[in-house]
Every structure is written in C-alpha cells, then in structure tokens.
C-alpha cells in the first residue's frame, strides 16, 4: 500500500526502495571480513620484509589465492557500500554526490578486479 501522499511522491521524498539490500549486504560482507581479515593480518606479519620470491610462494600456497581473492572482493565491496553511505550523508550537492558515488564504485571495481587478476598471475606465473 502506498503510504506517501501524492504531493510527497511527486516531490521525490521518501524511500528509493533499495535500502534493505544495501543494509543487508553491508552486514553480510562485514561478517565475511571478520575471519578473512584476521587470517590476512596474521599472514601479512610473516611477510614483513619479504622479497618477491617469498611473497609469490605465499600467494601461491594451497588455499591462499582463493582466500586472498575473496578478501579483496569482499573488502572492496564492503568499502564501497560504506563510503556510499558517508557520501550520501554529508554531500548535499546532487551533482557532486552522483560524481563521487560513481567514482567510488568505479575505483572499487577497477582496483578490486586488477588485484584479483594480479593474484591469479602471481599464482599461475607469467
């Protein structure tokens, strides 16, 4: 049932109806990041001062490429969702807001995609 008044609707006030999906994904990615980040921090400690060979060996070891790719995907996804909320809360100029939201989404996808591609290359050589 439509709860808004016709005047409120025509002015574009109220929900855009995609809030629940965003809220839910932010929680799901957050939960996934708990074990992934703890795994990453304690793995990264062992890589302090490592040279490229030690790094490649670590990246390519058993489950590491999968975990690292999942971490990168989930981290950029969660980060994009979070930055989106921050921009929506504090930027009130419609054009700047749209520009920032698109820039954030693009950079998350580009850097996330590029680093997962890098993990694959480091794992399979080349």
């Amino acid at each position: 049932m439509e709860m808004r008044s016709p005047l409120g609707r025509i002015r574009g006030l109220g929900s855009t109806n995609d809030g629940i999906g965003h809220w839910w994904l932010q929680r799901v990615t957050g939960i996934a990041l708990v074990p992934l980040m703890i795994w990453f921090v304690f793995s990264a400690i062992g890589l302090a001062g490592a040279d490229i060979n030690a790094f490649k060996t670590w990246v390519g070891t058993s489950g590491n490429p999968v975990l690292l790719s999942l971490l990168i995907f989930t981290m950029f996804h969660h980060g994009q969702l979070g930055l989106q909320v921050v921009v929506e809360d504090y930027i009130h100029s419609e054009l700047t807001k749209l520009g920032l939201l698109i820039a954030i989404k693009f950079s998350a996808i580009i850097f996330g995609g590029y680093s997962i591609y890098a993990v694959m290359r480091l794992t399979f050589g080349g």
Partner: protein, 131 residues
Amino acid sequence: MASRNRPLSPHIQVYKPQLTSVLSITHRMTGVALAFGAFLLANWVISATYGPEAFAMAQGLLASWFGRLVLFGMTLSLFFHLGNGIRHLAWDIGKGFELPQVRRSGILVLAFTVIMTLITWVMAYSVAGGS
C-alpha cells in the same frame, strides 16, 4: 531536491561527547581510513606483478617510518572497526541495548583494539627483527 527550509534538530556540536557518540563517529572514520587501506593492499599485491624492483620498492615504502606509521594506524583502525562491527551486529539482532551494556561493550571494544594491535606489532617486530 529539498524544497522548503524545514526546522532542523539540534546538531552534534550542542551535545557533550560521550563514549557512545565518540565510538560511533570513530567507527565511521576508521571505516573511511580502511577504505584507503584497501587501495594500499591492492597496490602491494599488484606491485609484485611488475617484478622484483617494483615489489621491493613497495615493501621498502611500507617499512619506512612513514609506512610503519600508516600501517600502525591501519592496524588500530582495523581492529577497532572489526570489534565495533561485531558490536553493531549484536545490536542488529536486538542484543545489548541497555545503557550499562552499551558502555561495557564499548570499553570491551577499546580493550580488544589495543590488545590485538599490540599482539600484531610485537609479532611483526619479532619476525622482521626490528630492522
């Protein structure tokens, strides 16, 4: 989009900072910091595909005093955001809303942040040998 000037509720600057409000804004600030950290992580992994010199340079930057300062900030931010994120998840399922509980869980998150950060850096220095 907004049409007329509507009355606004009093904004944050009229309130005295409290543990609850300070931790709330810290969650947001650490989240933004960690989003930048994500790009650092990406650059670190990507640098290895550009060969030994590029990776050595990335490692060198991270090991410099400034790099260590940034990484220390990232470690603090990460463990705070992780601990406080779990606190938020508890609230999401309706747990821990009583004021004494909110206070206790807030202090617990701060303790978790400090302890985990210390453990991480003690381990890092014992691996890298303090160099």
